[in-house]
Amino acid sequence: MSIAAALGDVQRDNLQGSPQPQRRGHFVPYLLMLPGLLWLGVFFVVPLVTLFMMSLQTAVPGGEIGEYEQTFHFANYVDVLTDPSYYTPLFRSFIYAACATVLALLIGYPLAYFIAFKSGRFRNLFLIMVIAPFFVSFILRTIAWRQILADEGPVVAAMKWAGFFSDGIGGIYPSAIAVVLGLTYNFLPFMTLPIYASLERVDPKLVEAAGDLYAPGFTGFRKVTLPLSMPGVVAGTLLTFIPATGDYVNAALLGNSKNTMIGNRIDYAFLNTNDYPTAAVLSFVLMACILAVVLVYVRRVGTEDLL
């Protein structure tokens, strides 16, 4: 049992021990849940049902573009799942999101560690710096990456100078690398902040104690700090991976026709061909795939013990 869980037990025992007015206790939890339930109901369940109904529609024969009728045509799912043109973008989405998540973890963890333990009185300043990008629209920030990575931009110029590219044609934008960099950049705060929150709660005395017990330096980190920060790592990776998989803005702005993610195909089906059923089916397929991946991940890491 982890320490957090143990603490939870202690707290629960305390609560049960104290005399509580029973009746009020009955209603309070429901009242507290009400806003959240209403929110989920109106903005998650209802749209989800609408989307599902839409995924079963078919085109009105001889009708206008974007005109569909409800026929409960479950074969829409078969059509999409058997269309190989969707496999590559779907596969790409998961690969790009996984790469971005790993990169964000590699950057975010040391950053969070630094802020939590080494930043001293500048801690708040650094935290604000992590959040600061949110003050500017993320579309704008992503477009700024175009300039940074453009053929005649600073990064390519520096790399050419260092001999990575020949002087001929070659660059980073648009490319898969640019898309992954964009995803990493855009989701980095979502990785850093939960990890910081976990690290910040780690009692330095535990690390000291580890040192006293002959686990200095890295061993102490590996045996004490890292396990205690795992809830933050799990939360951070999920908060990065899930939205990154469904993201289409980075691929639209930093990629080209060879870097499209499934979100771009959904976007195209919705907005360009007005093929709402196909777009809805794709959305459900994506949801199912993400759910499967996340379930496997959470199972393997064993979050119940951590969160």
């Binding site: 749209p47 609408t50 989307l51 109904m53 839409m54 529609q57 085109a59 009105v60 001889g62 009708g63 206008e64 573009i65 974007g66 005109e67 569909y68 009728e69 409800q70 043109s85 590559t88 973008p89 629209s137 579309i139 704008l140 477009i143 700024a144 300039q147 453009a150 053929d151 005649e152 931009g153 044609i169 070659g170 660059g171 934008y173 648009p174 289409y248 803005v249 639209a252 702005l253 080209n256 026709s257 060879k258 870097n259 499209t260 771009n264 195909r265 976007d267 195209y268 089906a269 919705f270 907005l271 360009n272 061909t273 007005n274 093929d275 709402y276 059923p277 809805a280």
Partner: protein
């Protein structure tokens, strides 16, 4: 993908044109906004009621809202980028300012159209439900204007408010999608053709196949407007796009596009924001629109050339249209009327360098700039027009199939 924002970041400006930038952000932002509100599109519950009625001809299924024009002197106009005379110094649209001063109508001018299909996708759901889309004037291309009219999404023009409507060129007055111009007025017409960077390609481009030269690998950008890009390729294969071409002929052109995208010859397929790639050196050659090239030359130094390919260019028009849900119809009509004065049309044409649809503008132009009055791109002669073709109307079924197939190529 159009999306939002109106920042003027000096830093970014140097690398890209102001409006190319806004166009790009606009597209993605709008798509993002739409994605955020989920399924607010026509395919939902409304499909059986509102929009089904829409298919039954021109009868307006969309309830006409009351016109607030007299009490609320304002209107919102959605247009493409680089499509109205602009004063770089003062950051205003002079002809629009003159209109505002003359009529007291405040115009909110938004460069919100990145490409036709995306813009339609963004507003069609609300139009189908009879909800205000926030625009009182929109500027879709012919085929898309036809779709708006067919679906009852356009409000009929009250001729009493637009007497200058009579100034439209005879050739544009009786178009197939709107005989007699009951719903629409041409804003500008233009050519789709070949664009190149004159420093990098001193010899220029003459035919579509020149875009596939090995030395241009990864330096070509083409338009995400299917009719322009596929149209040019089809004509390069000897197919007439204004005639009854077959699916096989369409697919043969699509295969060329697929091959050039796969090989990396074409780096990007873009809407209005293709200009940005030309300006910042991402692309040396493009399939682009005639007037744009004059404008980016004016703003960024005379660096680019434009030509109709030897196998003909695409001729298109964009049209002013009042959405059926507009609550400022009369104001919009007043604006249409204003821009159909030959003198005003000449001012716009002198800036945008697109084909001017207004009779008498050539004479008015001669007074402003005699050189421009002789421009083949603003007042083309019959010989120039003979080197262009108009993409034939597609049935909804063809439209769906072709755009889906096109999407699979450009969205790999």
């Amino acid at each position: 993908m159009d999306p939002m924002n109106d920042p003027r970041l000096e830093m970014l400006r140097q690398a890209m044109s102001r409006r190319g930038f806004l166009g790009a952000t606009g597209a993605v932002g709008a798509a993002a906004a739409l994605a955020a509100c989920g399924t607010g599109s026509k395919g939902g519950s409304s499909s059986s009621s509102g929009s089904a009625a829409a298919s039954s001809g021109n009868a307006a299924p969309v309830a006409t809202p009351s016109d607030k024009s007299d009490s609320d002197k304002s209107l919102v106009w959605a247009n493409w980028t680089l499509y109205l005379d602009y004063d770089e110094e003062k950051k205003v649209y002079p002809s629009l300012v003159a209109f505002e001063e003359k009529t007291g109508i405040k115009v909110e001018y938004k460069e919100d159209i990145e490409d036709n299909a995306t813009f339609y996708g963004k507003v069609s759901g609300q139009l189908g439900n009879g909800q205000d889309i926030g625009y009182d004037l929109v500027t879709p291309t012919d085929w898309m204007a036809g779709r708006w009219i067919r679906q009852g999404f356009a409000a009929p023009i009250d001729e009493a408010n637009v007497p200058n409507k009579a100034n439209i060129l005879d050739t544009l007055n009786n178009v197939g999608f709107d005989p007699g111009r009951k719903y629409s007025l041409t804003w500008q017409s233009g050519f789709s053709g070949l664009v190149w960077n004159k420093e990098k390609l001193p010899n220029g481009l003459k035919s579509v196949n020149d875009l596939w030269a090995p030395e241009l690998k990864g330096k070509v950008v083409v338009l995400s407007e299917m009719r322009d890009t596929i149209g040019l390729i089809m004509m390069s294969q000897g197919v007439r796009i204004d005639g009854p071409f077959t699916n096989d002929q369409f697919n043969a052109a699509l295969a060329v596009l697929q091959q050039q995208v796969d090989s990396g010859q074409i780096k990007q397929v873009k809407g209005n924001s293709y200009k940005e790639d030309l300006i910042n050196g991402q692309a040396y050659a493009a399939i682009g629109w005639s007037g744009d090239i004059f404008q980016i030359n004016a703003e960024n130094g005379d660096k680019w050339g434009f030509a109709l390919p030897d196998t003909d260019g695409v001729l298109w028009s964009d049209n002013l249209l009042i959405p059926a849900t507009s609550t400022h119809k009369k104001n919009a009509e007043e604006l249409m009327n204003y821009y159909y004065q030959p003198e005003v049309a000449a001012i716009v044409a002198a800036y945008v360098n697109y084909i001017c649809p207004v009779k008498g503008a050539k004479e008015a132009m001669a007074k402003i700039d005699p050189k421009l009055a002789a421009s083949e791109f603003i007042f083309p002669t019959d010989a120039t027009l003979a080197k262009t073709q108009v993409f034939r109307p597609l049935t909804p079924k063809e439209e769906q199939e072709y755009s889906e197939a096109f999407g699979k190529v450009i969205q790999g």
